[in-house]
Amino acid sequence: MTSARAVSLVAKREFVMKVRTRSFLIGTAVIIAVLAGYVVLQSVLFDDQQHSVVGLSGQATQLADPLRDKAKAFGIEVETRDVTTAGDAEQQVRDGSLDALVTGAPPELKMIVKGSGDEVLATALNDVLRQQVLTAKLAEAGINPQEVAQSLANARVAVTALEPVDPQRGQRLAIGLIVAALLYYSLLVYGTMVAQGVVEEKSSRVVEILLATVRPWQLLLGKVIGLGAVGLLQLLVISTVGLGLSSAFDVIDVGTLGGAALLTGVLWYLLGFFLYATVFAAAASLVSRQEELQSVLTPISMTIIVAFVAGINLMIGNPSGTTVTVLSMLPPFAPILMPGRMALGVAPAWQVLLAVVLALLAIAAITWLGGKVYANAVLRTGARVKLREALRL
């Protein structure tokens, strides 16, 4: 039997066993539900901010078209409604079904709002009124209002930004955070799963039968690949559903940003998983019972948690800061921070490349070392094996 066959048999078992479990199905469903809830909430909030309903009464109704156009130029969506009785309309403003009510005859208009009025809406309305007054006066003076409007439109400052602000910055930040959060979750959950699998084999002693026919590294590699594939499957399902929802609700520009984020996410998941899974497995091979597992896993989990929490805070503050930049290239932190910075568009190619190379080197070293610890410790049941002993043997 070839090594490839042995590894693939082990990997297949791990994959099939895990994907069939109730916890995997429920876990995936819960994450998707949370994600969907978030997207829907976002889109509702988004809509609410950008969308106002304005009631127009009496002569003000003639302002409907110019008001909509002007508002659009300001970046807000205005829906206008003609109202007949001002009293009813006022009640509607009070209960929130109208955002504002405009009454009176131009140029003397009144706007009624519930609490604080929408300033953008008021400005838009003022502009529309001034325009109308201006047009009327120009017509009185015998000047063609269209020509004036043309000249006015041409008179403007050309702005050159030395450091242009990315109009998609908000979206990029959101994607960066989501990618980092998903990777954090996947590494922690699937790393722990590898550890639990190792201890299960050890505590049930089945490992002795297995190692009579496969080599320790084949068992370890099969386990890492099998569970890594489960994690990848979950990551892809979640991302696909997430991107689909986002595009359906117009929360994120999926085409460009989302696709790229998915790709970097998958790349860094693979690098991160191979980096951490072997460490998780080696640590787990030191103990013989699930109850003892937490104590050996804590230092590893803490590294991932610190990378996530500290990294996210630094990244929101200044994604190009020295600390974040350096951390995002170091192997233990790179799988969480680098994809975030890549999604933000602040990581130059050389930094990404350096991070990938360092991660690959670390994987090679960790796999060798972790494989050694695992092979030495996995058959020693009973008391916890000291790391020093496992390395020395």
């Binding site: 048999l9 066993m17 299960e200 026919t213 496969v214 058959l379």
Partner: protein, 302 residues
């Protein structure tokens, strides 16, 4: 048809200061049931684990058909470890198929063989149950099936009879016999000496990490000092004979131990000249007594 011999050649193993095995040697031939007995901690399990490669020996070699055992030949061994081990949450059939595949069988062949052993060991009703839901006895049967499912060329079983009910003991004995008659060398350890005595072609007694006696049960029993059981009214005559010691006296019945070279016929003559003899027989030690002897001697010398 496997025709080989499994040889354990002078293997030694120490754990720090503790010597677990000291130049242990024995061989198991094709078609032979070899019983491996010894007190707890004598080194039986260590020897078996070394044979399976799950433990490395400090020195010595394990050979199959004259060649040192490597991973490929090891795959042809059926192994039942002392600490039973199966995936608790895996179904019986899936588990056996998986183990058969890991031992080099193709998927179809693995399925056929797994179903075969499930039926053979009376597990058909439980084939899609998780192992952890099975009774301990049934788990043992699955464990045996796990050792047999890849149709091994050699069987190495550590305490296969412990925890079995009498019916399962019969099934197990029958399966082992069958395997042996098919030409498979079978070695198993056990504390149930009566069972070993009944079942095994040859027995090895281990003490303090070394093999202290090997041979057929008959050979072992006729070795050692000769003992005679004599029933006659008096025993004073025995004291007059050189090389004879009375080790037990019970009314008119006594047990005599003869030193090497003492003729039992001379003893009979002496007894007859002293009075009527109602019983005169050679007492052969049971395996249990032999075992106790060996272990206590070793214990004293250690």
């Amino acid at each position: 048809m496997p025709e080989g011999v499994l040889e354990i050649d002078r293997i030694s193993k120490r754990y720090g200061e503790v010597v677990a095995l000291r130049d242990m040697s024995f061989d198991v031939r094709a078609g032979e049931l070899f019983g491996f007995v010894g007190s707890n901690g004598a080194g039986k399990t260590t020897a078996m684990r070394i044979a399976l490669g799950v433990l490395a020996a400090d020195s010595g070699e394990v050979r199959w058909n004259g060649r040192a055992v490597d991973l490929d030949t090891r795959r042809r061994i059926g192994y039942m470890p002392e600490e039973r081990g199966l995936y608790p949450r895996m179904k019986v059939l899936d588990q056996l198929v998986y183990l058969a595949e890991l031992h080099g069988m193709g998927t179809n062949e693995a399925h056929t063989s797994a179903e075969n052993w499930i039926a053979r060991l009376g597990l058909r009703d439980r084939r899609t149950d998780e192992v952890q839901r099975l009774s301990l006895g049934n788990q043992q049967r699955v464990q045996l099936a796990a050792a047999l499912v890849h149709e091994p060329d050699v069987l190495v079983l550590d305490e296969p009879f412990s925890g079995l009910d009498p019916v399962a003991v019969d099934v197990m004995s029958q399966v082992l016999r069958e395997k042996a008659s098919a030409g498979v060398p079978v070695v198993f350890s056990s504390h149930q000496l009566d069972l070993v005595e009944r079942l095994c072609d040859r027995v090895g007694i281990v003490s303090a990490g070394s093999m202290v006696a090997t041979g057929t049960v008959d050979e072992l029993r006729s070795s050692g000092e000769a003992r005679l059981v004599v029933e006659s009214p008096t025993t004073e005559w025995a004291a007059t004979l050189g090389g004879v010691r009375v080790i037990e006296k019970n009314g008119t019945r006594c047990v005599l131990e003869l030193a090497d070279g003492v003729d039992d016929q001379a003893v009979l003559h002496a007894a007859l000249s002293a009075g009527p003899v109602h019983e005169f027989s050679r007492q052969r030690p049971s395996l249990t007594e032999l075992f106790r002897n060996v272990v206590t001697i070793e214990g004293r010398s250690a």
